[in-house]
């Protein structure tokens, strides 16, 4: 039958035309398309992988960030505490130092006052002695202006000296 007998002419033309077009398309057609699409697929796959990686990295960054924040907060409070302590210490130290200084000044002042008083007393004493000698001199000069009284006085002094000697011997 006609239908199942391959026709020579059609066979010939099919081989020629199909062959030529296949050659052209295999060289300039399909590889261009498939290569480009494969490149694109590879790029898309790579991009997806990259995105995943970036996401994972972002997540880890977030954790890190939180940790850092926590650490900073801790450090901050630590520093605040330390600052407070330092302040208290400095104030206490200053107080103590001021007290000591004040005590020292007071002590010095007392000593000086004592010394002043001492020297003032010495001066007073010296003045009193000088005054008393002068008074005595004046008194003696007045009293011993006549003979009698000079004798009486000498006698009195001798008596006194005797009495003192007797008093010493006894």
């Amino acid at each position: 039958m006609n239908l199942v007998t391959p026709d020579t002419g059609l066979l010939f033309w099919m081989v020629v035309i199909f062959g030529v077009v296949f050659f052209l398309l295999a060289k300039f057609g399909f590889p261009v398309i498939t290569d480009m699409v494969e490149k694109r697929s590879a790029k898309i796959a790579q991009s997806l992988k990259d995105a995943d990686e970036i996401q994972a990295r972002m997540a880890s960054w977030k954790v890190e960030q939180a940790q850092m924040l926590e650490a900073t907060r801790k450090e901050q409070s630590q520093m605040l505490r330390e600052a407070t302590e330092t302040k208290a210490r400095i104030v206490a130290d200053a107080k103590a130092q001021a007290q000591a200084q004040a005590d020292k000044i007071l002590a010095d002042a007392k000593l000086q006052i004592e010394a002043e008083k001492e020297s003032a007393l010495r001066d007073v004493r010296r003045e009193v002695a000088i005054l008393s000698v002068q008074v005595a001199e004046k008194v003696l000069r007045h009293e011993l202006s006549d003979e009698g009284s000079q004798r009486a006085f000498i006698d009195q002094l001798v008596d006194e000296a005797n009495q003192a000697q007797m008093h010493n011997h006894s």
Binding site: L3, T8, F12, M14, V21, G29, F30, V37
Partner: protein
């Protein structure tokens, strides 16, 4: 599409239809101009139509491409006849062989519709550009243009940065479907070598299957339902498989690891099976497409057969046949894709089997 099909069929077959056959077609354009021309001369105005003749004319090959009939004159492309007969090469228009005329010692066999040599009464070497060959040229050129335009898009645009548009967007899924099929069935190592052939086979078969369903001029040739065409396709697969097989593949055929008593039998079986593969590919595609065309044509012919049984019966059957025709056309669209897919997939599987490596 179906309406156009009816009209073209009606116009084509106008000469074989009797007056009754035309009775039901008042609303169809061009009907008035259909004048029985040859039928009158042969005095065979018959009310019966020869279904087999109509169908075989549509699925067969012709030396001219009858497109339609316009104002009583056939509109047809007269194709060149290229023949090497016992008297040498002859090239002329097929117009000269119309109506059984003899020209340069050649004539068309009225029974088979093929050119015969007067001197020997046998088929000469016939390389004529027939309807099928012209369709083959046009569809293959169309495929070439489509694929090269697609490739040009990828050359002109940076596919890494923009999505394909237009033709490239339409072609990419088809090409990549075959490309991925090749990778799956042939293996990562050397599927690239075979992918262009598989893409070519798939797109070519798909395009021609669809063109075969279109009932008017650029389509309408029954190319993938022609055994010569499917034979060439299957042989391409056969040679690709058997000329590029691995050592292991040939060893499995000629010296398989089987018990001693099977050793002489196995090569025979294996060689037979290798040769049956292209045969099955040929017949599968050919028979499927041919059967589809015959079914659709038969559905259309029901209208003309029923025409003489009165308006009620013919009207009812027309409705039925139109519904079935639409259904079959839709089915054919599905089959067009499936057959292209199956041919390509089997080809890739056969190639993959021949690329086995030592385990």
């Amino acid at each position: 599409m179906m309406l156009a099909f009816f009209i073209s069929l009606l116009l084509l077959q106008g000469d074989t239809l009797g007056p009754a056959g035309l009775g039901m077609t008042e609303n169809m354009p061009g009907e008035v101009s259909v004048i029985p021309s040859e039928a009158e001369g042969e005095a065979s105005v018959s009310q019966d139509i020869d279904i087999a003749e109509i169908i075989f004319e549509h699925i067969g090959d012709e030396y001219e491409w009858h497109i339609t009939e316009w104002k009583g004159k056939p509109v047809a492309i007269e194709l060149p006849v290229i023949v090497k007969s016992s008297t040498g090469w002859h090239v002329f228009s097929s117009e000269r062989l119309q109506h059984g005329e003899h020209y340069q010692g050649l004539y068309i066999d009225p029974e088979k519709g093929k050119i015969l040599d007067e001197a020997t009464g046998k088929r000469p070497l016939d390389l004529s550009i027939t309807k099928n060959v012209l369709s083959l040229m046009m569809s293959t050129a169309l495929l070439l243009v489509i694929v090269l335009l697609t490739a040009r898009w990828y050359k002109k645009h940076d596919a890494l940065k923009e999505a394909p548009t237009g033709l490239a967007a339409a072609m990419e899924p088809l090409v990549m479907m075959v490309h991925d099929m090749a990778r799956e069935n042939i293996g990562e190592e050397d599927y690239r070598k075979y992918s262009p052939y598989l893409c070519m086979a798939f797109l070519w078969i798909l395009l021609n299957n669809f063109l075969g369903i279109i009932p008017f001029f650029p389509g309408g040739a029954n190319l993938t339902g022609n055994i010569a065409i499917t034979l060439v396709l299957a042989l391409c697969t056969f040679f690709t498989v058997n000329l590029t097989g691995t050592k292991h593949y040939y060893k499995d055929i000629f010296a398989p690891d089987v018990p001693g008593f099977l050793k002489p039998i196995m090569p025979v079986i294996e060689v037979f099976s290798a040769c049956m593969k292209p045969v099955s590919l040929t017949i599968r595609l050919f028979a499927n497409m041919l059967a589809g065309h015959i079914m659709i044509l038969s559905m259309v012919c029901i209208i003309f057969i029923m025409a003489k049984y009165g308006p009620l019966l013919s009207g009812g059957m027309t409705l039925v046949s139109v519904l079935f025709g639409v259904f079959l056309d839709a089915l054919e669209c599905l089959v067009a894709f499936i057959q292209a897919y199956v041919f390509t997939m089997l080809s890739s599987i056969y190639i993959g089997l021949a690329r086995v490596h030592e385990e």
